[in-house]
């Protein structure tokens, strides 16, 4: 187990290195620098600014400098928000995104698992068709359609929630649902398929022959195997949630990292964009490792390989 974790960490290092390198050189290849847009800057000030940020050095030297900083966990100063370092900006915005992501995932897991299990217990009945029909619908509705529609119905028409912001507990509801809806639907379908697969296995018959109650058959004998595919979906789901947060935070004007990233993109805030991409790459790699560990824990067969 420890070896497995160590192996993943070793694997992650070149990946991060490559991500950092590609991001850096893409930035350098960009036409126009971060100080081009501010019309007020005179050539002197611009040169001074560039010197301050080390932009006048040879590119390769800049690259080495940047990588050296990275090794110390320093993502550099933001080009756009004077006086702020990228790390500070990340630290401010990420908790909001994390909270949103957690709510969305929790919502998706809870509803998705319940719907999937219910559907799998009575396949081809209304208990199956209704949740699975809704799930199919959910999979085809992207967040940038559901988000505005939810606002239209629940915020504007019914007035139950605010249309945007992140100030009150009730502000969490619509964004979390918007972000989680697709995953709810997907998890419901995976759960149903996984449970049906397991419930048709011979060992379920053995369990019934022992006199196990239906509850016991589902809870003790099926869930573990049936949820394996859901667990392995969590990896892609996490990176999907990160992506989705870009849209959801924009729609609901939530001061999270996703919105920062989008704005940094518009503003050509190089270091900020790069820092965000790197940060998310690390985060996703770590979370994927966690998912792998859960998977191994759930499936004893993998534990020995």
């Amino acid at each position: 187990m420890l070896r497995f974790i160590a192996k993943r960490f070793v694997e992650a290092i070149p990946v991060l290195f490559i991500v950092a390198t590609i991001t850096f050189f893409l930035m350098k290849a960009a036409p126009g620098g971060p100080f081009d847009t501010e019309k007020a800057t005179t050539p002197e000030i611009k040169a001074q600014l560039e010197a301050q940020y080390g932009l006048n050095k040879p590119v390769f030297q800049q690259y080495l400098d940047y990588m050296g900083q990275l090794l110390h966990g320093d993502l550099g100063p933001s080009f756009k928000y004077a006086g702020w370092s990228v790390a500070e900006l990340l630290a401010g915005a990420f908790p909001v995104s994390l909270e949103l992501g957690c709510y969305a995932l929790a919502f998706a897991l809870m509803l998705g698992l319940i719907a999937g299990i219910i559907a799998s217990l009575r396949p081809n009945s209304l208990n199956d068709y209704i949740p699975m029909g809704l799930a199919t619908l959910g999979i085809c509705l992207p967040a940038f359609v559901t988000g505005p529609l939810l606002i239209l119905v629940f915020a504007i028409t019914l007035g139950w929630y605010n249309t945007s912001g992140w100030d009150f507990p009730s502000d969490r509801v619509l964004p979390s649902i918007t972000l989680g809806l697709y995953y709810t639907a997907y998890i419901a379908r995976l759960t149903r398929a996984g449970m049906l697969e397991i419930l048709s296995q011979d060992f379920i018959r053995t369990a019934r022959a022992k006199g196990a109650t239906e509850w016991r058959v589902v809870w003790k004998h099926s869930l573990r195997g049936g949820l394996l595919s859901v667990v392995s979906f969590l990896g892609p789901a996490i990176s999907g949630l990160v992506t989705g947060s870009l849209v959801v935070e924009t729609i609901f004007q939530i001061p999270g990292l996703g919105r920062f990233f989008v704005m940094a993109g518009f503003n050509r805030d190089y270091t900020m964009v790069m820092g965000t991409v790197l940060f998310y790459a690390v985060l996703i790699i770590v979370l994927n490792l966690l998912v792998d560990i859960i998977q191994v824990w759930l499936n004893p067969k993998l534990r020995f390989d």
């Binding site: 990946v15 505005p148 048709s200 595919s229 990896g235 990176s239 050509r268 991409v277 996703i284």
Partner: protein, 299 residues
């Protein structure tokens, strides 16, 4: 039977032996699948409407009528008009044209990358295969969309770059599927025969492998189209995709969302069309996959 997940491979022997009748069988099965047929009809109608409208009324969609302004759906304008008095139906159809074009172009890019990558990995096998597939696993987990945004930011919002970038993101599934198919093909006798005849590897890949993988590639391409369109609209919605004066469904939805309080139809119609197309494409793709899944015909 119930929807147990099935590994995505055709049985090559069946495909080779059955040849013609396999496709006929598949066609029969597909026709029985009502949702897939409805999806197919919708997509065909939409495609025709989207591509023909800009041809016959080439600039109707940008014809402004500032005096009219935003009006709800009416007899003259079935879907209403936007703030500049432009007919929404025309704009939606024009947006469909852009969305579908980008969808198809980006799909082609991703299919090319995926097929090449998967074929090489599956055909050469061994350590290279392990490394290449592990790379795919890792790429799966990276926040790829952020790279696309990065690209769009840096190199300007150019439609060619857009579908290249999207294509470069969506090839992973295809690579995996093709690799699986190539691996099972490799064990087939006729490939062994070709090897025994001393044909060069490159020739074997080009002449024997790729044609045999084609069936499954076509099926999965229909499933890539909706995810590509989704990505395109996602980017356009954020403002990183298609730029005005061009407009895709993503941009229309974005504009609609901004003014939904006063003119909800500007959000509802593009959203409806977009979701319905995703729906149809998904059903069509699933239907095709089920219809061509040789396994299913055996029980």
């Amino acid at each position: 039977m119930t929807a147990a997940p099935q590994p995505a491979t055709l049985r090559p022997t069946d495909e080779i032996e059955a040849g013609h009748s396999l496709w006929q069988d598949a066609w029969h099965r597909l026709r029985k699948n009502k949702m897939a047929v409805l999806g197919g009809i919708f997509i065909i109608l939409l495609t025709i409407a989207s591509f023909v409208t800009p041809l016959v009324a080439s600039d109707y969609y940008k014809h402004q009528n500032l005096d009219l302004g935003a009006t709800p759906p009416s007899h003259a304008h079935w879907f209403g008009t936007d703030q500049l008095g432009r007919d929404l139906l025309a704009r939606v159809l024009y947006g469909g044209c852009i969305s579908l074009s980008v969808g198809i172009a980006a799909t082609v890019v991703s299919v090319v990358i995926g097929v090449l990558y998967g074929t090489i990995s599956g055909y050469i096998g061994g350590r290279l295969d392990v490394i290449m597939m592990r790379a795919v696993d890792i790429l799966y987990s990276l926040p790829f969309v952020m790279f696309v945004i990065l690209l769009m930011v840096i190199f300007g919002r150019n439609i060619i770059l857009l579908f290249m970038a999207i294509g470069a993101v969506e090839w992973l599934d295809m690579a995996r599927i093709v690799r699986g198919q190539v691996q099972s093909l490799k064990k087939q006798e006729f490939i062994e025969a070709a090897l025994a005849l001393g044909l060069r590897k490159r020739r074997i890949i080009l002449r024997h492998m790729i044609p045999n993988v084609l069936g499954i590639v076509i099926i999965y391409s229909t499933l890539i189209v909706p995810s590509v369109m989704l990505l395109e609209s996602f980017l356009s919605f954020l403002g990183f995709g298609v730029q005005p004066p061009m407009s895709s469904w993503g941009t229309l939805i974005n504009e609609g969302a901004k003014s939904m309080e006063e003119c909800p139809w500007l959000l509802i119609f593009p959203g409806l069309f977009f979701s319905a197309s995703l729906f149809s494409l998904n059903f069509l793709g699933d239907g095709l996959r089920d219809a061509l899944d040789v396994r299913a015909s055996k029980d």
